[in-house]
Symmetry: C2
Subunit: 224 residues, 2 copies
Amino acid sequence: MDFRLVDLSADEIAAQLAVVEPLTESVRALIDAVIRTEVPDDDLDDARRRIDAVTASLRAAQKPGSYGVPFTRDFTGMPWGNAAVGVRNAIAPPLRVDHHDDGTATARVRLGAAYEGPAGLVHGGISAMLLDQMLGEAASVGNGTPCFTGTLTVKYLRPTPLGDVDLRARTTGSEGRKVFVRAELCDADGPTVTAEGIMVSPRNLPSPDQIAKLRAATAADHDA
Amino acid sequence: MDFRLVDLSADEIAAQLAVVEPLTESVRALIDAVIRTEVPDDDLDDARRRIDAVTASLRAAQKPGSYGVPFTRDFTGMPWGNAAVGVRNAIAPPLRVDHHDDGTATARVRLGAAYEGPAGLVHGGISAMLLDQMLGEAASVGNGTPCFTGTLTVKYLRPTPLGDVDLRARTTGSEGRKVFVRAELCDADGPTVTAEGIMVSPRNLPSPDQIAKLRAATAADHDA
């Protein structure tokens, strides 16, 4: 596991997000437009050339490989490249997950044309992906630390129309490094897809106790 | 189900693909660049404005809603907006699935930064999505007709590094409208994730016999 630390304050992270989130949102709109556009071929070719020029300008300086999951100095994960929740990843809807005091995790997200499988319906694999993320969120300590999926079982009760969906997940037990979790995806009429997962914490993950100590030590450094 | 027919010849479809596929590929490169770029904030803002301009030009004429799954006059599906295989959908890697005479379906795909979960590794939900698509491909009659997933069970044997992966799927039996399918996702060292699925054919789907008759009738029309 990569536990690279980045020395950024909460303000610095907020400043980065203020630039990066609108950019990613623009790319999401572009993905949708490319799927649905009916402009003539010459306009499509022109769009391609203009997109390539933007990409070249962004590649003037770039991280090698992938974004990874850096952690801030108070051990908050920054999974900004994540395929489900990444604020820099236009593939992610993105899920914005809320963690509640009762241990549940919830999210509401609008799934547009880019998430289609059968005509007008959410791709079954996209539902599985979002539910997998929710299972991991409920199983994690709630700080963005990635959790590995051991087994994922997804049951499709009925088709999910494209549009707004709600997701919720909660743990149902644990055994050593294994955490048992359930989740569901709902449209306005109730659950359409349910999932059960056995999630596994990475072997070399700092424990919640260790994370609390790291955070206290960092806070003490800053107060000193 | 939407069985909208489009009256396009094979040549016309090839001509559309020749324009659309490079455009979608350019958007995929842009998604990657936005995740990994380290250019200054002003350049990011400039990129956003240029992307918004391209999106506006594409939206000058567009389909309402989603792309759907139109069928050609010989009943070949065009799932071009599909989240896993869609040639117009930059979220799709895309999977290019080969159907073999022995009934298996295979695909090889490169998963880059946009498919990340834990640092450097494929998101477990992305593996589930691709396997779900492969299960559907093996269960379908091989003409792009969408198949609904009933139950999907995914087992993660070990982490999958980002990079090239191979997928294969095959049916193991059927019962009425249910088709039982297995699939696996492999890196260079062998399987990393396996899946079992119970896939369900849509109730109002033309049967393979009906499709064969439709195709024969269309061919006869054109010969006439």
